[in-house]
Amino acid sequence: MAVLIARRIGIAVLTLLLVSAAVFSITSILPGDAAQAALGQSATPEMVAALRAQMGLDQPAYLRYLHWLGGLLTGNPGQSLANNTPVADLISMRLPKSLLLAGTAAAVSVPVALTIGILTAMYRGSRLDRLLSLATLGMIAVPEFLVATVAVLIFAVKLHWLSALSYVPETPGIGPFVRAYAMPVLTLSFVIIAQMARMTRAAVVDQLSQPYVEMAILKGASPARIVLRHALPNAAGPIVNAVALSLSYLLGGAIIVETIFNYPGIASLMVDAVTNRDMPLLQACAMIFCCAYLILVLLADVFAIVSSPKLRRR
């Protein structure tokens, strides 16, 4: 088991290296350059050349890549070009906020999605199942900004419960927290609930077609017992996989949601970095997103190994 897990971790680290090379080369292939950008149009070629040398931009690409990678690993991914602050400072300010948002969305969506998924699997073929399946099918295909705009329209414009499109700085307490987070969390949860519920249903239905479930039915076990006691433990691996994959979708969804609600998280920081062509900041943000994705997938893999007796004994 330890060997299997170690191999997965090794693959993840290797993938991350590959990704970092890809991100670095995409963002530095064009000569559009930081020194020129920092000095502006009026700079003489000599001044630009001097700054390039000072910033290390005159070195060959692979050296710059290694330097950048070393910086990332030691927690110093460089200076942000836009406001000349260390990238690490900007990120450490924003990252906790994003994690809070994603964590809240996960805490809301996982229980809801698992309930829907297991219910529809238990009563598969019933009217409830068909209705919920259609609903989740539609929900998957809805763009986040539609969910966000409808939420704003209902809760802010019509009902006046929440303030529209503006992030309220936190004051301690449950009430203000709910008011500030309700709409972003709702929007983020919307799509992943649908995805997770569909994948959970598929995993449980898959188990319910196995011979051992037929045996349980013949034994006279109740439907609830069959699903909860027999099928669910066996479906745990695929379900955790579904949860991890859906949660990884939070990363992409956050980009739209943080922007639309002016939420000061890491995703809106990244969008700003793109608009300002602030490459060091952009590279660091992109790597954080890829890291988060790989960690989620890795956790799902490890869980699958630990929860499966066949793999565990190896």
């Binding site: 990704v19 539609g138 539609l146 569909r198 639309i260 992109a286």
Partner: protein
């Protein structure tokens, strides 16, 4: 056809079987269509029609400022109201849909064809090529598609060819994975073994034995890729990083009119609803397909 045992008719049997199966499918499918499937077909047909001939029916020019006030409500003169500059929202949507659907069709077609081709290539090539190709594409998967798109736009600037390329590259690994798993399963079937024993080359096996029997699920997968690309590109346009003005796709329309949201203006809601009806329509059609293809929407992750 060098081996004497293989008569021409036996030679073609698998491919013919595939065609017969397909013909039967097209006859049977509409009759078994559920209500939701029918709704899907109608929605998709409507939007394809709009993409091709929609601008002909636009009551006003795409950039013409025709209303006296911005964010006018729906009226007889402006069926979907006016936008932030006083342009006709209906006309803007009819033109914008062409961008959204055209770009998505191009990117999804690219992703599906390349994915299928690579999947077939990996299946009929040796284990070494298969392994390394799969690993490489796995690495692409672990960059979330929106993050990848942001990096590409930052690196190269936003342009229509770049958007198509980026979207196609993001969703290629998914198409590859499905094509490969289908092809690997077919590859061990007896009729493929027979073809191999007959001395057929890899290209023949990939194109005439494997491809005809996996074209169905791949078409359904193409629909799914299309939905993903529509959502990715309109999301990018919504951030102001996709289709650049003066051109506007449906996502750009939502962005430029977002200031009308506090008044509940149709100029914000209508383009967003247009995207949703398009993507939901495609999903409903895929879900109404019988058998294996249908299962795609269950585990689908955008």
């Amino acid at each position: 056809m060098t081996t004497p045992v293989a008569s021409p008719s036996a030679d073609r049997a698998p491919a013919q079987e595939g065609i017969a199966h397909r013909a039967g499918f097209w006859r049977r499918w509409p009759r078994r269509l559920s209500l939701s499937g029918l709704v899907g077909v109608v929605l998709v047909a409507f939007w394809l029609l709009v993409a091709f001939v929609g601008p002909l029916f636009a009551p006003h020019g795409v950039g013409a400022i025709v209303a006296d006030d911005s964010f006018a409500p729906m009226s007889g003169q402006f069926p979907l109201g006016s936008d932030y500059l006083g342009r006709d929202v209906l006309s803007r949507i009819l033109y914008g849909a062409r961008y959204t659907i055209g770009l998505a069709l191009a990117a999804a077609l690219l992703a599906s064809t390349a994915g299928t081709a690579l999947g077939l290539f990996a299946t009929v090539s040796g284990r070494w090529i298969d392994e390394s190709l799969s690993r490489l594409l796995d690495a692409v998967t672990c960059i979330p598609s929106k993050v990848f798109a942001l990096v590409m736009v930052a690196g190269f600037g936003s342009s229509v060819p770049l958007l198509i390329f980026t979207a196609a590259l993001s969703y290629l690994p998914g198409a590859y994975r499905i094509a490969r798993s289908l092809a690997v399963n077919l590859n061990v079937m007896e009729y493929v073994e027979v073809a191999r024993a007959r001395g057929e080359g890899r290209v023949y096996i990939a194109c005439y034995e494997l491809l005809p029997n996996m074209i169905h699920p791949m078409l359904a997968d193409f629909g799914l890729r299309f939905v993903f690309v529509v959502l990715l590109l309109s999301g990018l346009s919504f951030l102001g990083l996709g289709v650049q003005p003066p051109a506007a796709d449906l996502g750009s329309l939502v962005r430029e009119n977002i200031s009308g949201l506090p008044d509940g203006s149709p100029a914000v809601m209508m383009p967003a609803l247009a995207i949703a009806t398009l993507t939901i329509g495609v999903n409903l059609v895929i879900d109404s397909l019988p058998g294996r293809a249908r299962r795609l929407t269950r585990g689908a992750l955008r």
